[in-house]
């Protein structure tokens, strides 16, 4: 079980080597910087609230562990300046059963999207803009309530 917030990149393969030993099912999710609709994204800047971030992620992870039988769980989230196609974050879940591993990973992602103190800003040659939160992301949380 681990939560990490870091500026540097991560290696999915290294992260899940030995992950969830003895589990039958391992699910991973990797979030990657996509270009914007105009295709002119130079950078994505991710700001966070250092004093709160790790605690918030640990709280989300702890909640997932009370809901599903997980033999392992990992959240890694980056901050700082990222280019298109670079990795932003990952979660991994391990369980005896595939449904638990899938649901827990989706739960973690849904909460990370709108309950962990990160903010994304898109930098383009035409200017900067903060990424708006999506109604769909807020709606996604209702599934777990």
């Amino acid at each position: 079980m681990a939560v990490r917030v870091q500026e540097q990149d991560f290696d999915l393969a290294a992260e899940i080597t030995g992950f969830g030993a003895g589990a039958g099912a391992v699910v991973t999710f990797t979030g990657i910087v996509r270009n914007n609709a105009s295709g002119n994204l130079c950078e994505m800047v991710i700001e966070h609230y250092p004093a709160m971030t790790k605690t918030a992620l640990e709280g989300i992870e702890a909640e997932a562990r009370t809901r599903w039988a997980l033999s392992d769980c990992l959240i890694v989230h980056r901050y700082g300046r990222l280019k298109p196609d670079q990795q932003i974050m990952m979660v991994a879940t391990a369980s005896a059963h595939r449904r638990d591993a899938f649901e827990a990973a989706e739960f973690l992602m849904d909460y990370l999207k709108s309950r962990a103190p990160f903010w994304k800003k898109e930098i383009t040659a035409q200017g900067d803009s903060w990424v708006d939160s999506k109604t769909a992301d807020e709606d996604a949380l209702k599934r777990w309530q």
Binding site: Y49, M52, M89, L112, K113, S114, R115, P117, W119
Partner: protein, 82 residues
């Protein structure tokens, strides 16, 4: 004295990431009113309260939450992690 922190466009509109404030505000909403009365940049940052989230001592709360003996209040837009 409490630390007041601002993030993302709230930080940009107010023009600073954090400040120390002497306040008697009982609730977060009181603190917002007090700040908004100071200068236009605060009033602008807090003009749409539906777009403002707040954490008291690193815990998300609603705008009517009490401040009590909190040491840190943070204002920011809805989060966009993941």
């Amino acid at each position: 004295m409490i630390d007041v922190l601002y993030f993302a466009w709230v930080r940009e509109r107010i023009g600073l990431p954090r400040e120390q404030i002497e306040t008697k505000a009982a609730t977060v909403a009181d603190l917002i009113s007090e700040l908004s009365g100071r200068e236009d940049r605060y009033a602008l940052a807090f003009s749409d309260l539906k777009a403002i989230c707040v954490a008291v001592d690193q815990t998300l709360v609603s705008l009517d939450a009490p401040i009590g003996n909190a040491r840190e209040v943070a204002f920011f837009p809805p989060m966009t992690g993941g």
